[in-house]
Subunit: 410 residues, 2 copies
């Protein structure tokens, strides 16, 4: 076992417990992770993150998605600093708003226009509002278990949420055509939209790519009802296909939500849409104090340009393939069956016969001590900064993790 310090982290957690409810809100709360995970980070560079005690890890979470070129990518950092040297939050946007919007419209297959926000939740909420504005109808079909943000209408917890916040949502099961058709029937002339994740990436279950027949049926239902097909590309966007994550499936949405990887960690979200919804987009009122800040737009231009020019997705696929093959080899060697699902560049690793995630937790806690920051139940993320040596270091840490799991007394 590798020696790890955590005294600075422990001290900060004690202080945080007094002034932040539960020590931290939301998905980055380390209490949701196995014991031993640090809560506070000091620095990051490329695919490495360093916690406040100086422990360094190969980062397989990439800040839960945003870091797609590696932390502190030189081209992005330079673009941000150039913009900050001029101005960031002004009485209107900079020219970068136009440049970025043109870039998105040119790159994303279905997009005739773009709007920019801050949170993924801003983008998904705006898509739903747009669908209702454009159709004059109310019902939105949403897959059970899909995460679309943390506003009252979509947050996974219903604490503090009223029944009315979700009054017009109709559930279906991802990739299940019959359930989708039943939900559309239930919407009964009031169908505004089908909202569907780019692929199935629910917490703590096997990921699923979209079944092309399912995707085509969703498109056909929306066309028949004159409703909006919304693909939520917040998590997957810019890691599957720069033209949109359903391009490989051959189905184009009317509206899509983006965030996470769009600006390599700078706060930005986007809605893209086709001309059917342009007028609706002019009529709704959505805004935010920082939605026009220029630096994240400059970061996004640099990020998307870099991804395109270096064929970043191919690089992530190559490294993700290396990781998946390596983990499969290790699992076989340790006679410990695992399931790896979804796109290789967005790994999910779950252990067979692990109902309480005890195996996954031990695997990850052990790998952490050996220098790899993994997640036992959530989509992980590759960046273009991950190289063969980094993947191999993760595999070495995983080897220790598998050995620990094999040694579990149950």
């Amino acid at each position: 076992m590798v020696e790890r310090r955590n005294s600075v982290d422990a001290g900060l957690r004690q202080r945080a417990a007094r002034v932040v409810p539960g020590g931290l809100w939301g998905h980055l709360n380390a209490a949701r992770l196995p014991d031993g995970y640090p809560q506070f980070f000091a620095a990051a560079e490329g695919c490495r993150v360093r916690d406040v005690d100086g422990n360094e890890y190969v980062d397989m979470m990439c800040s839960w998605g945003p870091i797609v070129l590696g932390h502190r990518h030189p081209a992005v950092e330079a673009a941000v600093r150039r913009q900050l040297d001029l101005g960031n939050c002004m009485n209107g946007p900079g020219a970068v708003l136009v440049e970025l919007s043109e870039l998105l419209v040119g790159m994303i297959a279905h997009a005739d226009w773009a709007m920019l926000q801050k949170n993924g939740t801003d983008a998904t909420t705006t898509c739903v509002t747009l669908a209702r504005a454009g159709t004059g109808r109310r019902k939105v079909l949403v897959a059970r278990g899909s995460y679309h943000g943390s506003a009252p209408w979509c947050t996974p917890s219903v604490v503090g949420v009223t029944a009315e916040d979700r009054a017009h949502l109709v559930p279906f099961d991802y990739n299940d055509i019959a359930s989708l058709e039943a939900a559309a029937d239930a919407a009964d002339g009031d169908l505004a939209a089908i909202l569907v994740a780019a692929f199935r990436h629910d917490l703590a279950r096997d990921q699923e790519l979209p079944d092309p027949a399912f995707a085509r049926r969703a498109r056909a239902i929306c066309d028949a009802a004159d409703a909006a097909l919304i693909v939520d590309d917040v998590r997957a966007g810019f890691r599957i296909d720069l033209g949109g994550s359903w391009e490989p499936v051959g189905v184009r949405p009317d509206l899509a939500s983006w965030s996470k990887a769009i600006a390599n960690g700078y706060p930005l979200a986007a809605v893209t849409g086709n001309d059917r919804f342009r007028e609706a987009a002019q009529k709704i009122f959505v805004t935010g104090s920082f939605w026009c800040e220029a630096a994240p737009m400059a970061a996004a231009i640099a990020t998307l340009t870099e991804l395109r020019e270096q064929d970043g997705i191919a690089g992530m696929v190559a490294m993700g393939t290396r990781l998946r093959a390596g983990l499969d080899r290790l699992a076989a060697r340790h006679a410990t069956p695992i399931r790896q699902t979804g796109p290789v560049q967005m790994p999910m690793v779950l252990f067979d016969d692990d109902p309480d995630f005890a195996k996954g937790d031990l695997f990850c806690a052990t790998a952490l001590r050996h220098g790899a920051y993994l997640h036992p139940r959530h989509t992980m993320f590759l960046s273009t900064a991950h190289r063969e040596a980094d993947i191999d270091r993760v595999l070495a840490a995983a080897d220790a993790g598998f050995a620990a799991v094999r040694g579990m007394r149950r």
Copy 2:
């Protein structure tokens, strides 16, 4: 009349019209302003902004609130760059999260804890969710015409919004005790919260400071019903009183929402609360991909420290007083009655006998050509970067504006 160029702005608008619905979303859309206002900005420094054609203005909007120390304040910029040189968006927050939360709890009178977000709308929405989670009740009393954000439950436009989004809101009139009591009665055992702006700053009408008797009644109603008093300090926060905008009134909320000025233009929002709502705050699930980014927190620490150390609010009050007195003198000299309302550091200037805002529009459009960026219908904002010479330049521009209004043929 001063010569102004606008060809670069016009070119960008043409391009934007193709790829952004309506050219721009939300409150920064220059189409909402008199003819002649630029849409796109190139740079900003102190209290000056420069548009993409090189025209420079004394900035009396401060990006609609966020810029409280002046654009590109050295201490804030240095703090941001120091943090960016280490890391920004990581797998957890930096130590700055704890430092900022401690600073907020130490500074804001009612606060036992803080949570951080990105948009003012995130903060107001979280306050409402918290009130419902903490009380187990649903009704929220909201003043007619108050702006609390752009989510479906609160956006001023109802396009794309369903009736259910606002099912549990009960309206009252700001500063009207009888209407507040009637609304509380209507909530009838289901009262979760009273949500009230720090002062009345509705679009296109005279601003009103909170009547202390009204504020005390709101507090008493919440106490009697065990409901939450929420003060929305997104717009006014850190410009009235660093302890909270109702400190001068002598009434403390249970929950408050903050954003705008908190980090001098970097994207950050906050909810502060007392210990009554700490447990609720641990139970709800709210989060965002960028809510833990470290650079805006570093910016906030620098901003609030600077405001406190230089007694920034007193400085803004002094300059706001100079502006108000000067405008009153000019209005009298031009025999053109105006109304100046609300805090001097957050000016609102409306013309008497101006139902269609034709006077205000001409006044502002003329002042713009003379180098002052004013708003005809919205709260304006001072920063600590505004000095006597800047105010005097605004007054010179206003003199031209008054002359134009006096010369109107109606």
